[in-house]
Amino acid sequence: MIQYSLHENGEYLDVKLAGDLDIDGTEVIEEELIPNMEKYQTVNINFEGVRFVDSTGMGLLMNMVQSLKEKGIKVTISNVQQDVMNVFEILQLPEILGEEIFI
């Protein structure tokens, strides 16, 4: 189950994710997290606490980044653990979402 904490700093929001980004997090992300993020101009998603992902979780992440971008919000993803990054790379997530968002 995914957990998150929000650290706001004016127009900037830092989202710290913790736990597994998987199918069980669908509701949390779609109904709570995304509406919350939409209030800011710049959002960073900190992946430091994410150890495991599944394909649904990847779908959620893609959906999250793409819907925020559509609203003109600048999104970055940081502190991705190496094993999780490997999964991103197999799925070519950097190419899909844009290399520049991974910092």
């Binding site: 998987d22 495991f52 992902v53 394909s55 990847m58 094993d83 999964v87 070519q92």
Partner: protein
């Protein structure tokens, strides 16, 4: 003259001992040191001192002469050298015995070696050393060291020892059964004992140490051993071949014996169809006696009359079951009857297949399934136009007039058109023959092969993609940070959607194209599997189905696609052909040969699954002959691009190739810049087009 060899701990001791034995004093003998003592270490390697004492002449004169004196005196000098070389060191007693031989026949022994009682003796002369050749199974030691050379000289200064080797080997055997349990084999390798003995050898300047060998075979295999083993293999008694076991027990040489034999099953024969008529139709134009090619007598079509027996159905012949050596039944291969599908104009009477209509018999055999039908012939005497309508017929079609604008003629057999074809479409499963010009038309002969070829090509690309995708999914599931828990709930779709986003973004357009072609050509695709695959592909890659899709399901799909792809690329039997005098702005497809017999083709695309032969000219367009191309003239003086293509293993022959001609062999292209005559082009091992 008396001499003696003595040994001692050191030289002094040896001399003293010798003097004592001779009963004389030091001054009255000459002393020859044969070997000085070696102390060795802790007694190992220690050697005694050996000396030879010879009574001097003066002293000898005082001795009482004996009967051998005369001889002895004559050979005294030689005798001085005399020594016996024995295995180990020399006991005086043996020396004396040897000495006696020497005294009896001194001449005969000089420079010679001999063997007595398994020991080597020799006597050197100042001018000659005896030589010894060491035979098989003999080891000669000189001063306790093995002599490695095959032939060596021997000297009396050394100590020799001969050893012969004996060999012994136990009986080896094993029993095993073949895979079908039809035979039991016994391999036996009898044991033996080889005793070697070195016989006495007469003195000679050269002797050969050859042993006498006695080989005794001990086959210790017993009947009880074999029977016990057979029992443990549960071999039934009636299959055991006692005489073979007895042979094995008596064997002197290694060998394999079949000691039990079951009864093998005899395969039967599947049911079959015996044809009463010759169905082979001679296809393609034939050359007559004048050397001219007659394109009108292009095919001899077999035909039957009403009531004629076409074929006889034979039932299967069952096989005979066998029995294994363990008394289990061994079933024969199952045999099957033919499954007869009586088509149009056919009835079966008992085992006979009879025609109820006259026409061309068609027999199609695929495994056990046999389809027999009579293809009728439709003859249309006028033109095919709006008044006649399109012609679609499940047999041969012959049209005496023209085929006019936008009309379609489709036949499951052959199509023969006696006049022109203009802006029309001809589709035949068999051959197409047009006796006049073809203009702006589509001609397709042979069973839906174009469609199959196109679909097969797409299928190949898609299958490779899917295979890669399976690889990626496997790689992902093995990634340490990846959880595959949601596969059981939502299937692979969420993952596939991500993969189609970027990594496999080329796949959905291919699937769309495939599905579209299948939908259009549905009526021409005999096999349902093309459609089934289209449905499956749509489900996974185009629609957002909620049905759970597993990796196994995708693997299955990939395998089906691969099989179908392989079928589609396997060469089509060129059973059809196209023959026409000339074509303009047309597309011609044929699974077999294509003959353009007249003026030739302008801006025409031709695909021949067999050989392509154009007697006239080809100007503009693209032609392909899977089994080679022969053209009289290509291109034009104005350099109209004309592509002539064949696969990489075929040749292109052109009598006159003008500018604009592009030769394409396999994937290699070559454009001609100027006119060339008698071109025979093929590809060399460096993938370059070369001209013969």
């Amino acid at each position: 003259m008396q001499s003696i060899v003595a040994k001692g701990k050191d030289i002094n001791e040896a001399i003293e001992l010798g003097l004592k034995l001779l009963g004389t004093e030091k001054e009255k003998v000459s002393i020859e040191i044969i070997q000085t003592e070696t102390k060795g270490f802790l007694g190992i390697g220690a050697k005694p001192a050996i000396v030879k004492l010879t009574k001097l002449e003066a002293a000898e004169a005082q001795q009482a002469p004996d009967k051998n004196d005369v001889i002895e005196q004559a050979v005294s000098e030689i005798n001085m050298e005399e020594v016996a070389v024995l295995s180990g060191f020399l006991p005086e007693r043996e020396h004396e015995g040897e000495h006696q031989i020497g005294t009896k026949e001194p001449d005969a022994l000089v420079g010679k070696a001999w063997v007595k009682n398994g020991a080597l003796f020799c006597k050197t002369s100042p001018t000659h050393f005896p030589t010894v050749t060491i035979g098989e199974g003999v080891k000669l030691y000189r001063n306790h060291e093995l002599v490695k050379e095959k032939t060596t000289i021997v000297t009396e200064n050394d100590v020799y020892e001969i050893k012969v080797e004996n060999e012994k080997k136990d009986t080896k055997w094993k029993v095993w059964m073949d895979e079908k349990k039809l035979k039991v084999f016994l391999y036996v390798e009898p044991g033996y004992k080889i005793t070697r003995k070195l016989p006495d050898i007469e003195p000679s300047q050269h002797i050969e140490l050859v042993v006498e060998e006695y080989k005794e075979v001990y086959n210790t295999l017993s009947y009880a051993d074999v029977m016990q083993k057979l029992e443990s293999l549960q071999v039934a008694h009636q299959f055991i071949r006692q005489e073979q076991i007895v042979k094995a027990l008596e064997a002197k040489e290694p060998g394999t014996y079949e000691i039990a034999t079951g009864v093998s099953a005899k395969d039967g024969k599947n049911g079959w169809i015996e044809l009463n008529i010759d169905l082979r139709s001679q296809s393609g134009p034939t050359v007559n006696e004048d050397g001219k090619v007659d394109y009108r007598e292009i095919r001899k079509i077999p035909s039957v009359e009403r009531g004629q027996v076409i074929a006889t159905v034979h039932p299967p012949v069952p096989g005979l079951p066998g029995v294994t050596v363990t008394n289990e039944p061994l079933p024969a291969k199952q045999t099957y009857p033919v499954v007869l599908q009586a088509g149009r104009g056919i009835i079966t009477v008992g085992d006979k297949i009879v025609a109820t209509e006259s026409g061309r018999p068609q027999v199609e055999q695929r495994g056990k399934l046999v389809k027999v039908s009579i293809a009728p012939k439709f003859t249309h005497t006028g033109n095919v136009d709006l008044s006649s309508g399109n012609i679609r017929f499940a047999g041969d079609v012959e049209i005496y007039g023209d085929v006019e604008k936008n009309m379609v003629v489709e036949a499951e057999g052959d199509i023969i058109v006696h006049k022109t074809v203009n802006m029309a479409s001809l589709v035949a499963s068999g051959a197409i023959v047009v006796h006049s010009n073809v203009v702006s038309s589509e001609i397709s002969a042979g069973k839906n092969n174009m469609l199959v070829a196109e679909l097969g090509h797409l299928l190949g690309i898609m299958q490779q993609n899917i295979e890669k995708m399976i690889g990626v999914i496997r790689q992902l599931t093995q990634s340490p940070a990846f959880k595959s828990s949601d596969f059981s709930r939502g299937g692979l779709q969420p993952l596939i959607r991500i993969l189609l986003e970027k990594k496999f973004q080329s796949l959905p357009p291919l699937v769309k194209k495939y599905v579209e072609i299948v939908r259009k050509g549905e009526n021409y695709l005999e096999d349902d599997i093309w459609r089934e695959i289209a449905v499956s592909l749509t489900k996974v890659f185009l629609s957002l189905t909620n049905e759970v899709i597993s990796l196994d399901w995708i693997i299955q799909l990939s395998r089906k696609m691969k099989e179908l792809h392989e079928i589609s690329v396997s060469p089509v039997k060129p059973d059809s052909y196209v023959s026409l005098p000339s074509a303009l702005n047309s597309r011609i497809y044929c699974s077999g040969d294509v003959f353009v017999t007249g003026q030739g083709c302008i801006n025409t695309k031709i695909h021949a699954g067999g050989m392509l032969k154009i007697n006239g000219v080809i100007r503009g367009g693209e032609v392909y002959g899977r089994l080679g191309v022969e053209i009289n003239e290509t291109g034009s003086e104005r350099g109209t691009p004309t592509v002539i293509a064949v696969p990489h293993d075929q040749k292109i022959r052109i009598n006159k190739a003008m500018e604009g001609t592009i030769l394409k062999i396999g994937n290699v292209k070559h454009a001609l810049k100027e006119t060339r005559y008698y071109v025979v082009a093929c590809i060399d091992k460096d993938e370059r087009i070369v001209f013969e």
